[in-house]
Symmetry: C3
């Protein structure tokens, strides 16, 4: 249930798409609080939308409903989902946009539990993580009377979110599913020399390069980070330490490469997917 | 009345203009829910603002108050209006920003009713459509105590909207008017060969080209669409059908030209006002 | 206290930073109304953030809590503040972001009161203005359990704002301070010939050049304004008077240089800090 609905989309802020979606929600539940996470996800970039949602949802109160509509496959056979897990609700297309949410699921350690999530390639089907429930949105009773081919955000996802916020049980919206589309989480690789190789998973609006390497992957702060021919010594605790490029553990818990009062993306020319290597400083003498 | 106020402006998101306007509303009615439709209308582009408002307002609950401030004539003699019609309220300058709302008025079919809206040129005065009521905002009692020459959004429109949301009757804000400024709606022209010629009325943030041709204007889906030397066969039901440019009936009910995973605007170089021709495929042999 | 929290940041709208901060607020007070002033302050530009906040806060109801997070020094020793003054609350880093708020403090006229604010250079410490109270945020009881090095907006400022909105007294958050960082307000200089020299303090999204010269500094409207070699006669009352560049008293009470249906910034190439001179027209003959 919950009385907050968040929105993460690639609709941009120039057009009325976000407004129409909010109207469609408020027509059903005029009391619900709607909060924007972002509408400036790069158009059709499902992975970026997944990162943005994954780095924000957990700060909201339990029971919050998160609507994520980065949906290049709208109008095709791709499924529409409503999901419950980690004390939050999620609504959107079944195209990988919830991948980072799924990686927050507690690891399964029971007998026979797989040690790795079941996913093979890019955006393949995987088993719904433990503790999650999901249904496909098939009950048109909860949609707008007329559904356009191109705007399920307004015509299906928004009204379903509004009905969910009014207390309609998840199970009412359609049939349960046991597998969902997810991108494999980029997992850093550890070398025999103690180095860790990860990759850039996101570039934020400041030009900070967010890597797949988590704080818990790092032995300590006596390391050197290499990105595209640049080498950065140590790990800072603020953007004002050092000069030029610096490494820092960012607010989402990942190692980031930043530039003091500037853009590390502009300085390095780095792009999402580029490799990042962290080496212990002691191994460099 | 209503407890929701929507905002459509060209104020941008960099400055504090939107914030000041929201403050001015909340100072009078701290309980009202304020919803952004868009603040990224191209500066001074009244037609674009009219399209954005016109494609969003109907999704909000009945009684919603829509504030539209694209107002290059602020401080001149242009009138300020508060309007009731189609179960919604509209507040803003009398400069054509409500044109698309007026075209949603039911057509008048009674004896002597004109078949065409009374408008001659660009943004001329037309008779207030049937079922609408409007007043000019002249009662300064409902304004901020000090009114700047350049920001009636904050000093006149916002407080009037707030008072309206508190239940002050429309008639209280000023004298009734019977005519309003409106742009003529671009009407597609049908050729003797069954072709339909319309024009581009909006380009959205994805680069989709929205035309003046409505789904109901089309005979069926066996057509070819021509835009700036490009020819597109058929009409798709999703952005993932076909390759390159495609035609689709968009979420506002208009024929759109799109590019799969790209921008049709960038591909074609098309601009608002450019002609679009739809021909039956059978006539092409 | 107050049931409205406004946000002014340089976080941009692409990422989830704003969303995470709103979540952190709503987790503590799900009922509070959150209103964006701007998230598009130029990254790390504390002066611009100060101007944006300073030109919006006063339009909100008394008791509103204004959160301002333009915070390049996050993670260093810079202090974090919660401030009460002018019937509003302010929360953010002690780096000058509240400078324009402080200049709204009533001037001290008692015996021995200084005629000028006590500040020497750029962003120096000055005495907390009369009528203001401030504390440093040191009581971690009111923070998120885990505080990142780089995102005090989410981990310290947001929860403190939420607790303040729930009625926790200002004094609870930390120790009182009697001085704060503030930029000196750019004060126009009056020449012996009656001219006034000010500077550009802000360029808005329309390209309007906002100067440090207030309406009350002007003798009357028979003046000529010089900006970067351009001379503008008189002062208009609307953007539609005259052609090309024009002078107008803007909505924040400052003299602005604008271009009819265009951008004065693009036309003149002017930048923040550039001098602007206003001369009485009678002295020009």
């Amino acid at each position: 249930m919950g009385s907050i609905i968040t929105l993460t989309t690639d609709f941009g802020l120039k057009d009325s798409y976000v407004g129409a979606m909010k109207g469609a929600i408020l027509e059903i539940n005029p009391e619900v609080k709607i909060v924007d996470i972002s509408h400036a996800v790069t158009p059709q970039n499902v992975r970026e939308g997944a990162y943005v949602l994954g780095s924000a949802y957990r700060y909201f109160p339990k029971g919050t409903i998160h609507l994520a509509v980065v949906d290049p496959g709208v109008g095709t056979g791709r499924r529409a989902l409503s999901i419950r897990g980690l004390d939050h609700y999620f609504i959107g297309p079944d195209n990988g946009v919830f991948s980072y949410v799924f990686t927050d699921a507690p690891e399964e350690t029971g007998p026979g539990a797989p040690r790795q999530p079941i996913n093979v390639g890019e955006g393949d089907l995987q088993r719904l993580p433990r503790g999650f429930e999901a249904v496909t949105l098939t009950r048109s009773l909860y949609w707008r009377p007329q559904v356009s081919d191109t705007f399920h955000g307004r015509d299906i996802f928004a009204p379903v979110a509004a009905h969910l916020s009014l207390g309609v049980p998840l199970e009412e919206f359609g049939e349960p599913v046991s597998s969902v589309v997810a991108f494999p989480r980029p997992t850093p690789v550890r070398g025999v020399d103690g180095s860790i190789e990860g990759e850039i998973i996101h570039i934020d609006g400041y030009g900070n390069l967010i890597t797949s390497i988590k704080a818990s992957d790092l032995p300590d702060h006596r390391v050197e980070t290499e990105i595209g021919g640049n080498r950065v010594k140590g790990i800072c605790r603020s953007y004002e330490e050092g000069e030029g490029l610096l490494s820092i553990v960012g607010s989402a818990g990942y190692l980031e490469i930043c530039e003091k009062n500037g853009s590390a993306a502009a300085r390095t020319g780095a792009e999402i997917g580029n490799p990042v290597i962290v080496r212990p400083l002691s191994s460099l003498t």
